[in-house]
């Protein structure tokens, strides 16, 4: 007696099992009958087969969409993270030890350059104070 599992199509079994012999006999009958089908019936069968395959592919479309959605989202997230991380890389400059050279450009002209060190008036008239310094070191030219 066959078990339900043994009678399932596609399950590999030795040829001497009764279920397999029935399957072989059924296939032989099918092929014999198929040889005697007239062309019109064969055409209708082919058309029915095509329709069945087409409907199967339509049913699989949402699955394809889901299959592409995940990698697309992952790629977008990675690209976005890279884009956001790139301009934020120089941020440590702002928190680094403050030096006059780095802070001069950062304050965008709101603050004078290194106000702890020098009066903006010195930089504003640097050539004048340079001339004064030269005269101070050479009193005879004054």
């Amino acid at each position: 007696m066959n078990t339900p599992d043994q009678s399932r199509p596609g399950t590999s079994r030795p040829d001497n099992i009764p279920g397999n012999r029935i399957e072989q006999r059924a296939r032989a009958l099918y092929h014999e009958a198929a040889r005697h089908i007239d062309p019109a019936t064969a055409g209708r069968l082919r058309a029915a087969r095509r329709e069945a395959l087409a409907s199967t592919q339509q049913a699989q479309r949402p699955h394809h969409l889901a299959r592409w959605l995940v990698p697309s989202g992952a790629c977008a997230a990675i690209a976005l993270a890279a884009l956001l991380a790139w301009p934020s890389a120089p941020h440590p400059v702002a928190t680094a030890p403050v030096t006059a050279a780095t802070t001069a450009g950062e304050t965008d002209n709101t603050l004078p350059p290194d106000p702890e060190q020098a009066d903006p008036n010195l930089y504003q008239n640097l050539d004048f104070y340079g001339w004064l310094a030269a005269n101070d070191s050479q009193p005879s030219t004054r």
Partner: protein
């Protein structure tokens, strides 16, 4: 779905996801504005020349100034007053004057240390002179040809 449509779909999805996520992620890196009243009295004192424009400044710039002011408030009162006056003087300068001052600052940094010391000393001496003597020196200076005015600084650079 045809194969040729798949890359297009991926691109559209990536753009949509990116446009949805970008503002939220970008907002995380932007500091919140700091109200003038939330500054400490010492910070308000040293940054007083910026009081009128403080609330209109970008939060990042406010943050950088607060970082600097944290150092300034630890200085002696006289030094803090000096910095406050320098900030006030800077606010009165035109954009062209500020640009020139920054260029001169770069030039100053290229000078040898002893020449920078001489410049600082000359500046201090000039501030202590009586007004009429200052005016006399300025008049003498403006009477000189431009090339002669810059000779001393460029001599220092060429060392």
């Amino acid at each position: 779905m045809t194969l040729s449509a798949r890359p297009l779909l991926s691109l559209i999805l990536a753009t949509l996801l990116g446009s949805l996520a970008a503002p939220a992620l970008h907002a995380q890196g932007v500091p919140a504005p700091t109200a003038w009243n939330s500054l400490t009295p010492a910070q308000r004192d040293v940054l007083a020349p910026l009081r009128q424009q403080w609330d209109t400044l970008p939060p990042r710039r406010q943050q950088r100034m607060l970082e600097k002011s944290e150092q300034w408030v630890t200085l002696p009162p006289q030094k803090r007053e000096e910095i406050r006056e320098r900030i006030a003087h800077w606010q009165q300068m035109t954009p062209a004057e500020r640009k020139q001052a920054r260029e001169n600052q770069r030039l100053f940094r290229q000078l040898p240390p002893e020449q920078r010391e001489q410049l600082h000393a000359a500046y201090k001496r000039f501030q202590q002179l009586p007004p009429d003597r200052r005016a006399q020196l300025m008049k003498q200076w403006h009477a000189m040809p431009p090339a002669q005015r810059l000779r001393w600084l460029h001599r220092g650079q060429g060392r």
